[in-house]
Amino acid sequence: MSDATIFSTDVNERLAAEALIVDVDGFEGPLDLLLTLSRTQKVDLRQISVLALAEQYLAFIHKARDLRLELAADYLVMAAWLAFLKSRLLLPPDPSEEGPSGEELAAHLAFQLERLAAMRDAAAKLMARDQLGRDFFARGITEDVTRTRRVTYTATLLDLMQGYARIRTKDEFRPFVMDREKVFTMEEALGRMRGLIGFAGEWTDILSYLPEGWELDPVKRRSATASTFAASLELAKEGKIEIRQGDVFAPIQIRNKER
């Protein structure tokens, strides 16, 4: 055999290998590559020679290394596994050895390849189906559904009872709601004093301005005294009267300023 012939067969093989290798990015992992390699056997995947396939794969990896191509780790893992599988398939079974036989492992690989091929085929069939928006169409003019909102109100028996309890218990705690009849408001006191101060030329005790009958009931007297005093202050502020107190707790006296 001449060097030339060796070279030419080498070149052919190399070109074939490189065609695969150049495409290595196009493969989706070692299983995909194995499936492609298996196609070259041109047989039913069930009758595939896993041994031959393993050899093809290992040859491919070998070439890729010669070409110093970076191969992803999973390609190398697969290569190691296939090398192991190959040795199992070639060597007579060792009865002392545990685990599955080479045939079982090969059968599983064949199954995986067949399943992947079947899924590819199914995917192609799926995509070849009539598709919405391409082959058949939905309604073009859709009518909006008008939403009408109806509001209902609800309350529970507990709400009801608590509501009632709230009202009824108000009566039991009414410190802030004072009885009107025992309150002499400042407005009332002011009204009363405005009418009377015209006559107050001399200093007069403000207690003499209390309305009639209010000095007897202590509650009423307190209210009237407070409002009359507040009204006096208001009138003094307006400049209508003068106000004085001789001593602490002494009677408070007022007199008309506009004489």
Binding site: I141, R150, V151, Y153, A155, G163, Y164, K170, R174
Partner: protein, 224 residues
Amino acid sequence: MSEQTTDAPEAEANTEETLFEAPPMGEQERMVEAILFATADPCTVAELAGRMPHGCDPAEALVYLRKRYEGRGVSLVKVGDAWALRTAPDLGFLMQKETVETRKLSRAAVETLAIVAYHQPVTRAEIEEIRGVSVSRGTIDQLIELEWIRFGRRRMTPGRPVTFVVTQDFLDHFGLENARDLPGLKELRSAGLLESRPAPLLGEGSDDDGDEDDTNQSEMFDES
């Protein structure tokens, strides 16, 4: 997939004589139907013809199609000089979806309702006296609309004021056989329903009672 439609056989025969290149009329009708179904806008006869195979007569197909949809849930209508498939006008009510929203009754309404339930028949003045604040017209209206209270007999007192009583709907809603089944104050207390602290209750009460008289009825309902 398509077999020719069974109807319009005369049309088919007709067409086959005159425009033998064009699809049969039954097929043309299918085409017009599909186009009008799928397009977003009404189609003129010219537009239909532009989409259909050469030699088709969409105007004639429209006549058959219109007949076919007569009295159906959808009808073929002319919009200007274009054609469209539209829902039959009498079925417009189907295009509405009613959503029911449930809201909690406002405090003013609950209290008014409770007073009617416990004191019926009761006049408006009596309700106000018990609640300590005036009752807005809206509150009463709302309860009447809910069919939880209704007018009772007029009170035989000066002014002959109307009274309010609770309805059967009220009893049904609250699962009562009778308004007399409502628990009394003592029972409420023993059930722990009166344990709410008085002070905040009062302050709160006098505050919002004042507002309530002014607020319109929609505001009186909690938005939750």
